[in-house]
Amino acid sequence: MEVLLPIVVLGGAGLLCYVIGRLSLSRSLTGCVALVAILGSGHVVYQLSESLDEGIVVGWPATGPELPLQSYLRADHLGIFLAAVALLLAGFVAVYSMRYMHRRNIGKFYALLLTMTAGIIGIGFAGDLFTMFVLFEVMSIASFILVAFEREEWEPVEAGVKYLVISTVGGLMALLGIAIVYSYTGSLDLAALPSLLAGDAGSAQLLTVAALFIVGFGVKTALVPMHTWLPDAHAAAPSGISAMLSGIVIEAGLITMLKALLAIGLANTGLLLVLIALLTMFVGNLVALRQSDLKRMFAYSSIAQMGYIFMGVGLALGYSNIAAFSGMRGGLYHILNHAIMKGGAFLCAGAFLYLLGTRDMRKLAGIGRSLPILGVCFVIFALALAGTPPFNGFFSKVLLVRAGADVGGWGLFMAVMLILNSVISLFYYVGAINTVVFGPIPDNRPKRLKPMPFLIALPIVVLAVLVLAMGVYPDLGLMIVDPAAQQLATMIGFG
C-alpha cells in the first residue's frame, strides 16, 4: 500500500485543488494544498527508501504478479530516485506558481501539476510494462494541457498541438512494441521478461521492439531527430511548467525507455544510444548558440544535456563489463543536477518574463543589475549548466568523462566530445550572462519595475543555494544516486 500512497495522495490532492481553486480563486490556498500533498508524498517516499534499505520489498497489490499479467507497483531504488527528483522540483514549482500564475485557472493548474507528478512517480514504481505505459500517458496528457495552458495566445496552442501529435505517435509506437513483446511471451512483468526472452537475443522481433522503444520513448526524451517539438513546447509553457518539463518530464521518458530496454535484454542498443547522444549534444548546443529568446536557448540546451545523460547511459549499456556502474552513476547524477539547475534557470527566466513581459535577451538587457539577487542566481545557473566548477554541473560531467575514460577507445572519444560540447555551451551561456546581467539597460524601460513577489524569488534563491551546495559537497546527491545506479548496474549484468 505504501507504494501506491504517493500516487493516490497526489491524485486526490489534485481533485481537491481543482475544487478549491474553483470555489475560492485563492492562489495561496490552492498552492498550499498542493505543497502539503507534495511534502506528504515526499515523506512516504522517504519511508519507502528507509524500508528498502532494511531489505523489505514493498509492492502493491503484491511484490510480484500473483496472477499472470497482473499489473503491480513495486518500490526500488530507481523509482525512489525518480520520485525524489520529481517531488523536489514539483515543490519548488508549486511555491513559485502561487504568484506567477493568474488566479483565473489556478485550480486546473495545480490539479494538472499534481497529476503529472503522480504519473512520473508511477513510472518509477511500475512493475510491468503496461502499468508503466499507462502512467507514462497520464504524465504526457497532463503535460499536453499544461503546455497549452494559456490558450488565449497563439504560441502555446501551436506548441501544444505539435507536442501532442508528435508525442502521441511516439507513445503509440512504444505501445506497439509492448504489444509485440506480449504476443511473443504472454507476459509483461519487467522482472520476468529478461529470462523469458534470454533465448531470443538478437532476433528480428526483439530488434524491432528495441527500435520501437527507442523511437517511441525517444520522442518524449527529445533525442535528435525527434526533438523538434521541445523548443516550442518548453518556450511556450508557463515558466514553472517549463522547469518541470525540462527538469524531470524528459528525464522520466529516459527512465521509461531504460526500464523497457532492460526488460527486453538490451539487444545491443548501447552503441546506437551513444551515437544518438553524440548527435543530440551537438545539435542542441549548436542551435542554442543562435537563439535570442532566453527560454528557447534553455530549451535547446536541455536537448544537449539529454545528450550528455544518454552518453552515460549508452556507455553503461554498451560496455556493461566495464562501465555499467560508472556510466549509470554519471547519467543519473546528471539527471538530478540538471533538474535543479535547469529548473532554476527556467524559473529565473520566468521571473524576468513576469516583470518585463518579454523573453528576448536584448530587451532583457541589464535586468540582472536592477535585481541583483536574481542576477547572481542567473549567473550561478548559467555557469552550472555550462559545467564550470564549483557548481554541481561540473561534478556530474566529471563522472561522465570518467566513465568514458574507463571504457577507452569509443568512450574516450565521447569524453573528448563532451568536453568540446561544454566549451561550446560556455559560449552561449557567457553570452547570455553578458547580455542579461551586464548589458546596457534599454532607454524605453520604466525606471520603477513592479515589485518582485517574495514567493517567486524564494524558490530561485533556494535552488541557487542547492546548486552551489551540491557542487561543494557532491556526496549530498550521491546518497540517492548511488543505490539507483547500483541497482541498474546489477540489472544490466543480468541481461
Binding site: L69, W154, V161, L164, I180, P231
Partner: protein, 98 residues
Amino acid sequence: MSPYAATGIIMVVIGLYAAMTRKNLLRVVLGLSIMARGVPLIFIVGGMQTGTMSAAQSIVITIIVIEAVTVAVALSLVVAAYNHNKTLSITALRRLKG
C-alpha cells in the same frame, strides 16, 4: 503472422501516414485515432496466442480509455487553434521555428 495481427499493423501504418501527411488538423487527429485502434488488435491476437484473453481484454479497455482522453485533449486544442486562425489547415502552425 495471423491476418488479425497483419490488419493491426496495417492500421498503425495507415494512421501514421495520415498523421504525418494530412494538411487538415482533424484528419491528423483521425490518423492518431486509427493508429490507436490498430495496436489493441495486436494485443487481442497476443491474448489469443498465449491463452490470456481476459488479461488482454482489460489491457485493451484501458488503451481505449487513454486514447479517448488523448483525442478529447487533441480536439480541444484543434478548436483553440481554429478560434485563433479560422482555419484547420496545418500550414497555419508554422509560426514557431521548431
